[in-house]
Amino acid sequence: MSDQDTALHRVTLTVNGTSRTLDIEPRTLLVHALRNELSLTGTKIGCDTSQCGACTVLIDGRSFKSCTVLAVQADGTSVTTIEGVGSGRELAAVQEAFKQHHGLQCGYCTPGMVLATVELLNQNANPDEAAIRHGLAGNVCRCTGYSGIVDSVKAAAAAGVGK
């Protein structure tokens, strides 16, 4: 290992539609690149051990736990964070569904839940309750007891989010 190899790496990501270039250490986790380098703090860190899903983002349209992805691995990809789901104060239909159907209490799991829901509905636009619970198995919520979340996902599906 020479100093040159461990030196900063240039990583270019398209984040929420905008190209961003970062010079970072290879060991930088994607979640830290998003939160600390790009100030996109909507993505949360819950467990930091790939169990809770709070850090879920989409990479090239599929959901990943960004606490377990090195930012250098994501070089050249398109990343969607919660900031890219709605637009400012305007909520996307999936967020509106969570708001209307008590899909959140403290809100800490919500960015990850919303992105996991986007992935779920992209794969299956009309999931039944079992498919919803299975599809969100990688996301833990300490508050809601999940039934509000299941209702929210059903409402989002009815609103045509996955179509």
Partner: protein, 284 residues
């Protein structure tokens, strides 16, 4: 948690990655879903990471055999129709049993096999399907039969300077079907026991069977007693107890050894039953 410092570069080809592994302090990274957690905990501390994620080793080629590129994600395997069409349902079901959606999107079959985690799902399906692990090394490619591949916990027949390039699944005879059954640790999702059975049914009788078991022991294994019972039409779970008796079974404070021995036999029996029902035309 942030891993210790390391050097990083992307492999430009399989040969380039193999050459880079000449450095004993280098490791390849695929999906990173076993390696990154270990690096965070300092259980692994490679000096150099060679990222193979961009190599053209992704995808499923369905021909005389089914050849799965090592970078194919668990998610893509779980959804591939080629397996059920060939009677290899168990292979896709092992992939579907891995972790959760995000983990299946990230984790790769090659990484899982190379890692050799005794609690991983994939080995059961590979053993039942009599798969071959295709590896690339400095001297070119070779194939290793699955029965000779897994050697112990996190220990495989893969050489230090070799890369898994693909997993090759021969297509079983007509009238074959398979199934994977597991009981998972409710917290981690890893199997406490997973069993895959592949049967061939002809004239109402089972004429061939292979059963792979994972999760219970340091090395995934073939349940040969349960196989013999299946062929003889005898109770499988009883025979499976013999297979388990010969194994060094894990036990911990939550799931002790006795419990695991018990559920292992139950799960093996269920996998065989479901495979037979499928081969006989049941739709499950």
């Amino acid at each position: 948690m942030i891993p210790a410092q390391f050097a990083y570069r992307r492999a430009t080809s399989v040969a380039d990655a193999v050459a880079a592994l000449a450095d004993p302090d280098a490791k390849v990274i695929a999906g990173g879903h076993s390696l990154v957690p270990m690096m965070k905990l300092r259980l692994a501390r490679p000096g150099t990471l060679i990222d193979i994620g961009g190599l053209p080793l992704r995808g499923i080629a369905d021909g005389a055999e089914i050849v799965v590129g090592s970078l194919t994600s668990h998610a893509d395997l779980a959804q591939a129709a080629a397996f059920a069409a060939a009677g290899l349902q168990a292979v896709a079901e092992c992939a579907a049993a891995v972790g959760d959606v995000q983990v299946r999107n990230a984790g790769t079959i090659g990484g899982s096999v190379a890692h050799g985690d005794p609690a991983s799902d994939a080995p059961a399906g590979l053993i039942a399907a009599d798969a071959r692990i295709r590896v690339a090394g400095a001297a070119g490619e070779r194939e290793i039969a699955v029965d000779a591949f897994f050697q112990g916990p996190f220990w495989t027949a893969l050489g230090e300077q070799e890369l898994v390039s693909a997993i090759v699944f021969p297509k079983p005879a007509a009238g074959s079907a398979s199934a994977y059954e597991s009981i998972e640790d409710p917290a981690s999702g890893y199997p406490l026991v997973g069993a895959a059975a592949l049967v061939t049914v002809a004239g109402g009788r089972v004429t061939a069977v292979r059963i792979g078991v994972t999760g219970v022991s340091g090395t995934p294994f073939r349940a040969t007693n349960a196989e013999a019972a299946t062929l003889a039409g005898a109770p499988v779970a009883d025979a499976a107890r013999l297979d388990i008796t010969g194994q060094d079974v894990f036990g911990d404070t939550r799931f002790d050894e006795e419990y695991r021995r018990h559920i292992a036999a139950v799960v093996i029996g269920r996998a065989v039953e479901r495979a037979i029902a499928r081969a006989q035309g049941g739709s499950q």
